[in-house]
């Protein structure tokens, strides 16, 4: 069947959000934790074959590869009710089992060593489908495995599958000064270079924002990991819903993302979801309308990335916005809502080309009951994402100036002779931020000329 997608879950965080994602998908498609179709799941209009394939005995298996350098999280999955869901041949834990010590270089080099084994699995899975559309990678960028091994895999995926789309759901670390992992900024910058150069689309999940939202939503001071990952799985399932429920538009990944991404580097997307938190007070009084949903999706409090910009000279703006709306919607409201949003200037757009809010309708699962009549997901390309990278670079610069903790990296081949890799990565991130900032201005159409000048 056409347009299959293979999910790669990498490292502790990657596997945790992957697990929540598959849980959600099983619930939506009426698949039991063992992979069998539930008796109530008779309605055949959903497309399970994008993310699942069927074994000979008719049970459904996720097109997923679970990778890690230490066993803890994957073991947890394999002891959970979903232990029979996954293809055991697609689970790979490094025999070393020691993890990557939150060190990007360790993760990267172990990835090198394990390339053959890992790509045996990936190649086999890729041949399993009739027409693979691409890969989705889940990972965090601040640790060791998801970031380092993830970077390695990204590079190799791009080399070995040059025509396939590569999308990532990348969890960015919380940006407080004192990080859990001291070399977090190094790991992040090194990974961000690979995300920039090897991924076609990255959905940025900012842990700071996720925590803030989970705290508000659950009214607890410290939400659990499971609660945070639930938010992520909501985003992931929402952004794949049009792939899984065929409709007039957005039936494959490429049509979803091609209008969101104008140029190769500007491919970092922010996401928002509603209803999440205190939105609900109004819905008790009247029914939620399309305008309500679209308005809330533009509110920073519902966005899963903190993009507060410190640069007063730049007005950040949207390059593109896609709203995917599920539920009981009166289609004639869409046009009115768009007009209202434009009238009230609720969103600022780029000046150098056409841009707008596109609204897509998606069907939803008949088996999952939701409290809310209407829900909405936003995927958007916003130049303000560069301020997230900016803050990351700030922390990075402070550390690298003192060459703090660099010894851990020097032990590994890539950094043995010099720290060029660091500088190179930092340079790539700088170019990324510069391009995002340039995209806020009209002269962005001539951006290529500045590049030509640089190249000569």
């Amino acid at each position: 069947m056409p347009s299959e997608i293979i999910t790669l879950q990498l490292g502790q965080c990657g596997n945790q959000i992957g697990m929540e994602f598959w849980k959600q998908l099983c619930a939506e498609h009426g698949i039991s934790p063992e992979g069998k179709l539930e008796p109530f799941a008779k309605e055949g209009s959903d497309r399970k074959d994008v993310f699942f394939y069927q074994a000979d005995d008719q049970h459904y298996i996720p097109r997923s590869v679970l990778l890690d350098l230490e066993p803890r999280v994957i073991d947890g999955i394999l002891k959970s009710p979903y232990k029979h869901l996954y293809n055991p041949e697609n689970v790979y834990i490094s025999k070393d089992g020691g993890g990557a010590g939150n060190n990007w270089a360790q993760g990267y080099h172990q990835g090198d060593k394990l390339t053959e084994d890992i790509f045996d699995i990936i190649d086999r899975e890729a041949e399993n489908g009739d027409s693979l559309e691409g890969f989705v990678l889940c990972h965090s960028i601040a640790g060791g495995t998801g970031s380092g091994m993830g970077s390695n895999i990204l590079e190799k995926l791009n080399d070995r599958f040059p025509k396939k789309l590569i999308q990532t759901y990348s969890v960015f670390p919380m940006t407080n000064e004192v990080a859990d992992v001291v070399v977090q900024p190094y790991n992040s910058v090194l990974t961000l270079k690979r995300l920039t150069e090897n991924a076609d689309c990255t959905v940025v999940l900012d842990n700071t924002a996720l925590n803030r939202i989970a705290t508000e939503r659950l009214k607890k001071a410290t939400p659990t990991l499971a609660e945070l990952n639930q938010l992520v799985s909501t985003i992931m399932s929402g952004s794949t819903s049009t792939l899984r429920y065929p409709g007039y538009m957005n039936n494959d990944l490429i049509s979803l993302i091609s209008s969101l991404i104008p140029t190769p580097r500007l491919h970092f997307l922010i996401s928002a979801y509603t209803p999440l938190t205190s939105d609900n007070t109004e819905s008790e009084v009247r029914k939620t309308t399309v305008l309500d949903v679209m308005r809330r999706l533009l509110q920073p409090k519902n966005v899963m990335v903190t993009t507060a910009s410190r640069d007063k000279n730049i007005t950040h703006c949207y390059v593109s916005i896609l709203n995917i709306i599920q539920g009981e919607v009166d289609p004639s409201e869409v046009h009115k809502s768009l007009m209202r949003i434009r009238e009230r200037k609720l969103a600022e757009f780029i000046p150098w080309g056409p841009a707008s809010i596109q609204v897509a309708l998606s069907k939803k699962s008949p088996y999952v009951t939701t409290q809310h009549r209407v829900s909405g997901l936003m995927l958007a390309n916003h130049t303000g994402i560069s301020s997230l990278f900016d803050r990351m670079c700030d922390h990075y610069d402070k550390l690298i100036k003192r060459e703090a903790f660099v010894e851990n990296f020097r032990r590994l081949p890539m950094f043995k002779d010099n720290l060029d890799e660091f500088n190179d990565s930092r340079e790539v991130v700088q170019q990324l931020m510069d391009e995002y900032r340039a995209a806020t201005r009209k002269d962005y159409i001539n951006f290529g000329n500045t590049q030509t000048a640089q190249g000569e």
């Binding site: 056409p2 076609d200 065929p246 039936n251 091609s258 009166d330 596109q358 000329n449």
Partner: protein
């Protein structure tokens, strides 16, 4: 006064008896026994089954007695039609009801005194139309077929449509007279087997077919190929041949816009996937950046058109249709609801034959041709870059192995770059600039034409296309939107 009344009453009474009898016979059995042509419903025996509802029974307005209102006459007419429709077209001979006590003759012309006549008309009308509706819904699954039309003829089954288009692309690129039905049909069967269409009920799948509309020999397969949905029995009355043709025109248009969507996605993907190679030749970066910007512009254009189609055209008319169908009591109302929705779709897709609509259609085709043109230019660019990079490889090898001699080899290399690559690139660039300007001009003209179209929904398309107002449309006419 009483004397007049005493004369007129028996006269009227006797005159009304035959009318009353004819009405009762008509609304209970659908039969007209009218040797003197007095009844206000006439029948044309030559009309076929398919046209039964439309043409067989005519309401002869001049023959409606003055004491029967137009509304009552219509109900009477529809009731009898429904019975005949049930018997002949639905092949249902269930005896619906025998009026135990038909309203007496005087109740026809004394309606201000008693509602017996009105009650009789309304109750028989209700019973008959309700029964007909239940037959249409249950025996003939009318709603299922409406939904199937939305999924197939109106492209709702996106996975099937995409796969079908992928399979058919090569065939459809040929000239129209080289496109053969049996080739396309086997492709369609393949698409059904492989996508979610395979889970449809047999009854629905067997009705899917392809039709080739011949417009003119200069057309391509893309212009003539249409998906069709075959109807029979009573549903043929709703989905007449004329309506089928309308659906075909709609399908063809939607299919073309979809094709543009896939084209722009394809161009985007090629550009993105070639960005590494582009980066290896820094001299072309201003050109490639412009290509990305143009690709983005074209993608956004097609997308906006598509989303407009999805909401303002398809979803709005569908929800309208659904609510009208829910309220509809008789077949006449069902037909009206369906015709209304089809006309709405045609207008909003500028296919209604209106002069401004035709201009818009032409302009859109022009824009689509430019997009295809751009796609071809991008292919050439990528080819050119790949050739250049491949040509550089031996020199790069030599450099690595230290066998690169400064004079001869480097001269040849520079020569090649200037005499082969650069001129090719220049040609591509100039073609690109032509398309770029033409596209922008065409879009501006399209926006202008939209603004002056009488249909308010079509005007809203310009709002979507120019949401952030980057296109400066001159206001030739004051817009009243």
């Amino acid at each position: 006064d009483t004397l007049q009344q005493s004369i007129l009453y028996p006269l009227l009474y006797n005159c009304t008896i035959p009318i009353r009898d004819m009405i009762v016979e008509w609304i209970c059995n659908g039969i007209i026994n009218d040797p003197y042509q007095e009844f206000f419903v006439s029948t044309d025996k030559m009309v076929s089954e398919e046209k039964l509802w439309y043409d067989k029974y005519t309401l002869r307005v001049p023959m409606i007695p003055s004491f029967i209102s137009m509304e009552q006459a219509k109900k009477i007419w529809i009731t009898g039609k429904s019975i005949n429709f049930l018997r002949v077209v639905c092949k249902d001979r269930t005896m619906l009801q025998i009026l135990k006590t038909p309203a007496p003759s005087q109740s026809l012309f004394q309606q201000q005194r008693s509602t017996e006549f009105q009650d009789m008309i309304v109750s028989v009308y209700n019973d008959t139309t309700r029964y007909l509706r239940s037959i249409l819904d249950d025996k003939y699954q009318m709603m299922d077929h409406f939904k199937a039309i939305k999924r197939y003829l109106l492209l709702g089954q996106g996975d099937f449509i995409k796969y079908l288009m992928d399979l058919m692309e090569n065939e459809l690129n040929k000239a129209a007279n080289q496109v053969f039905y049996h080739n396309l049909q086997s492709l369609m069967d393949a698409a059904i087997r492989v996508t979610n269409a395979q889970y449809e009920s047999e009854d629905i799948i067997k009705r899917l077919d392809l039709r080739l509309m011949y417009v003119s020999p200069s057309e391509l397969g893309w212009d003539v190929c249409c998906l069709d949905y075959k109807f029979d029995g009573p549903l043929r009355t709703i989905f007449t041949e004329e309506n089928s043709l309308r659906y075909m025109r709609i399908f063809n248009h939607l299919w073309r816009v979809k094709r543009m969507e896939y084209t722009t996605c394809g161009v985007w993907k090629q550009l993105i996937k070639s960005s590494r190679q582009f980066a290896a030749i820094p001299e072309i970066s201003d050109m490639t950046h412009s290509c990305f910007v143009m690709s983005n512009e074209m993608t956004k254009f097609v997308q906006s058109v598509n989303y407009y189609i999805m909401f303002e055209v398809l979803e709005c008319s569908w929800s309208d249709l659904l609510s009208k169908l829910m309220e509809a009591k008789d077949l006449e109302q069902i037909l009206e609801a369906h015709d209304d929705s089809l006309l709405k779709i045609l207008t909003r897709l500028h296919l209604d034959g209106h002069e401004t609509s035709q201009e818009l259609a032409k302009q859109l085709r022009c824009i689509f041709d430019l997009i295809l043109n751009f796609g071809a230019i991008i292919q050439r660019l990528i080819q050119c870059v790949e050739t250049e990079l491949a040509a550089r490889k031996p020199y790069q090898q030599q450099q690595r192995h230290g066998t690169f001699t400064k004079n001869n080899d480097s001269d040849a290399e520079v020569q090649r770059f200037h005499t082969v690559f650069k001129p090719q690139l220049k040609k591509i660039k100039s073609d690109f600039l032509i398309v770029k300007k033409a596209f922008r001009d065409a879009v501006l003209k399209f926006l202008q034409q939209l603004k002056s179209h009488p249909d308010i929904t079509l005007r809203s398309l310009s709002f979507r296309l120019n949401f952030n107002e980057v296109y400066k449309v001159s206001h030739a006419l004051k817009s009243t939107a």
